[in-house]
């Protein structure tokens, strides 16, 4: 098991285009959307890191821009890393799918597409998962639904 | 040894004669047929109601429950209450179903089971018709019920029903072989197909004891295969409720559903009754050679009590199967038949023929 600082150092050498963020719970990288797939691919393939599991894929709405957060874990080496990306286009957000790297991402990405409206390029089967097409994107901060959401 | 302290043939002959004396033979025949029909119908209904109740109680006790206990003493009238409910339940019309075949199917199933009832010997002289091909007739009649199941599955216009019907068809057609072959084993031993003669031949020992190991094997195969033929668990693939909701009778309601339900229990009774007749001496009491006092007491018990008692024990065995085992898959079901039962059965028949030829049986 690597220490977090060691891991951060290793990450910067392997993925130099990503920005390492210090002082977080896990080693954290911020990536531009166009680099995302190659970065995650390298994180998985590199034998010193071998992030074999996509633990969690979270769609975020930061208010101004949208984002996707990837929690990667290596059970073999017992370490975790977080990869973040931000998309500033709220109207037509799109990002590369990582289904080809982690097949398990398929449902996660469909969920994010369903609830936040982020499109994933090259996703094998991008459809809404829970809701039908008449719904908006409920996890966005500006989503309004006066009938179903009653705030006290 | 004397078994005929209860002989019903004189009783039936007396009815026949008194009827013929007072009217034309044609009318007498018609009235006799009517009487037999009504008697069998009543017996049918009673057996059906009782078996449904028995099944509930048996499975409840096996599952640490009480089972029905509210309607009547010990819940005895629960099935009657259910029957009344089913009679008043709406017959839900099915969209796009073939209505004629849809309503016809339950009747085919129930008629097939009804026809078998007539040939069963309940006691000496107490059977509607004593065909000289009795065993063969029973098999022939029981093979017709599957048509009703197939029609029900098809006419419901439901995909689950259709799959259930197809499974049921494949299953019943295959297992009929095993049922037939295991009965043939005993027919070889008895040398006759007439049910009354088969029973009579067991006067000095039931076939399951007299026929050595082949008879036991035949019995095991028979009881398993007939469980499969009656579509009961663990062979209830046709209605497998965790896969096909209710299979071929998914769309049925009310009295039509009751027919399917009743036919299942009556079929169970029939297969158990055949096994009783063929393997366990029918209505013959249990006698042990040399124990005269014991035999006298046994002989005092009326034969139909013996018959129903043995049948009941076998029915309990079939129920026990259902409430213990998980269900088989369709291909395993067919593998069991074609890879295990059929070859074993064929060898078994040959061994039995050898035993009979060499006179090794008791």
């Amino acid at each position: 098991m690597m220490e977090k600082s060691q891991l951060c150092a290793a990450l910067t050498t392997i993925v130099p285009e990503a920005v390492t963020v210090e002082g977080k719970q896990f080693a954290e990288l911020t990536v531009a959307p166009q680099n995302l797939r190659s970065v995650i691919g390298r994180l998985k393939e590199d034998p010193g890191l071998s992030f074999d599991i996509l633990v969690c894929l979270t769609g975020m709405d930061y208010g101004t821009d949208l984002g996707v957060v990837y929690h990667l874990r290596s059970y073999a080496l017992n370490h975790m890393a977080v990869v973040k990306t931000r998309i500033s286009d709220r109207e037509n957000p799109a990002i590369d799918s990582i289904c080809s790297i982690y097949p398990g991402a398929e449902f996660h990405e469909r969920e994010v597409y369903d609830l936040l409206g982020i499109k994933f390029n090259d996703h094998p089967d991008l459809r809404r998962l829970f809701l039908d097409s008449t719904w908006g994107y409920p996890l966005r901060k500006d989503y309004k639904d006066d009938v179903n959401i009653v705030l006290k | 040894m004397e078994f005929s302290i209860y002989d019903f043939s004189s009783f039936t002959a007396w009815i026949d004669q008194s009827l013929r004396a007072s009217m034309s033979p044609g009318l007498a025949l018609a009235i006799e047929m009517l009487i037999i029909g009504v008697v069998i119908l009543i017996f049918y209904a009673i057996v059906g109601l009782f078996l449904v109740y028995a099944e509930r109680k048996v499975c409840a006790l096996m599952q640490n429950r009480l089972g029905p206990n509210r309607v009547g003493p010990g819940g005895m009238f629960q099935t009657i209450a259910d029957l009344v409910k089913l009679l008043f339940v709406e017959l839900v019309p099915i969209k796009n179903a073939d209505k004629i075949l849809f309503s016809l199917a339950p009747y085919i199933v129930i008629i097939a089971s009804f026809m078998a009832m007539g040939a069963l010997p309940f006691a000496k002289g107490l059977h509607a018709i004593d065909l000289n091909i009795g065993v063969f007739y029973l098999m022939a009649v029981s093979s017709m019920g599957v048509v009703g199941v197939l029609l029900a599955g098809w006419a419901s216009n439901n995909k689950y029903s259709l799959i259930g019907a197809m499974r049921s068809g494949a299953q019943i057609v295959s297992y009929e072989l095993s049922v037939g072959m295991s009965l043939v084993t005993i027919v070889v031993l008895a040398g006759t197909m007439q049910l009354s003669e088969i029973v009579q031949a067991q006067q000095y020992g039931w076939f399951i004891f007299r026929g050595h190991i082949p008879a036991v094997i035949a019995f095991i195969i028979y009881i398993v295969a007939s469980t499969a033929e009656t579509n009961r668990g663990p062979f209830d693939l046709a209605e497998a409720e965790s896969e096909l909701t209710a299979g071929f009778h998914t769309e049925y309601s009310g009295i039509r559903f009751a027919f399917f339900f009743l036919a299942e229990y009556i079929n169970m009774f029939i297969v158990a009754a055949i096994a009783t007749t063929v393997f366990f001496g029918g209505w013959m009491p249990f006698n042990v050679y040399g124990w005269e006092g014991f035999n006298k007491v046994m002989n005092l018990i009326p034969p139909f009590i013996w018959f129903l008692g043995k049948t009941g024990a076998l029915i309990f065995l079939i129920m026990w199967f259902k409430w213990t085992f998980p269900r088989l898959r369709i291909d395993q079901l067919l593998t069991l038949e074609w890879k295990y039962f059929l070859p074993i059965n064929i060898v078994n028949v040959l061994i039995m023929a050898l035993i009979v030829l060499l006179g090794w049986h008791w």
Partner: protein, 177 residues
């Protein structure tokens, strides 16, 4: 009227009516069910004639076996709402003529023949006799045709299995997509 005659009339009517249904029904499964009724009634006639063995064979093989197979294959191949199209008038006329011609031939034969009342009492055929003659190698034995048919049936069955087994199971296509 004797009871037997009543029963004969019932069976005859059922056979005639359901035969007509069988050929006129536009739904294939209903035709099959009508055929089943015809076959069962035929078995009933055999029972009436005390040909119990033949009746049971009729029930097992035709009602329980062949009709089930027919229904089975209908279930496999056709759809519930499928109906046959109405046959053209020309074809109807032609088949009607053919049927009538056949009927005339049969009717004239029956009318010309003088039936003698069977004086011997109806006897049940002993099963042992049937069994022995089925497996008899003598001049009136059936063992040769019996075996020939067995071989033929086995060949047919093997052929059917070979044809049915053509498709390969999908499991082999399983891949990590």
């Amino acid at each position: 009227m004797e009871g037997k005659q009543i029963m004969f009339a019932v069976f005859a009517i059922v056979i005639v009516v359901f035969s007509i249904f069988t050929v006129t029904s536009r739904r294939i499964l209903r035709a099959a069910v009508s055929l089943l009724m015809v076959l069962i009634s035929t078995a009933g006639l055999y029972f009436l004639l005390n040909y119990q063995f033949l009746a049971a064979v009729q029930l097992t093989l035709y009602a329980g076996g062949i009709v089930v197979l027919i229904i089975f294959s209908i279930l496999l191949t056709s759809q519930l709402d499928h109906k046959f199209e109405v046959v053209e008038l020309k074809k109807t006329i032609f088949s009607a003529l053919a049927a009538i011609a056949g009927f005339i031939v049969v009717a004239t034969t029956i009318l010309k023949h003088t039936f003698e009342a069977d004086t011997t009492a109806a006897t049940e055929v002993n099963m042992e006799v049937i069994g022995k003659s089925l497996l008899n190698t003598g001049s009136d034995g059936y063992v040769l045709p019996f075996e020939v048919i067995s071989v033929l049936l086995v060949a047919a069955m093997i052929g059917a299995i070979v044809i049915a087994k053509k498709g390969s199971p999908v499991k082999e296509e399983k891949s990590n997509k």
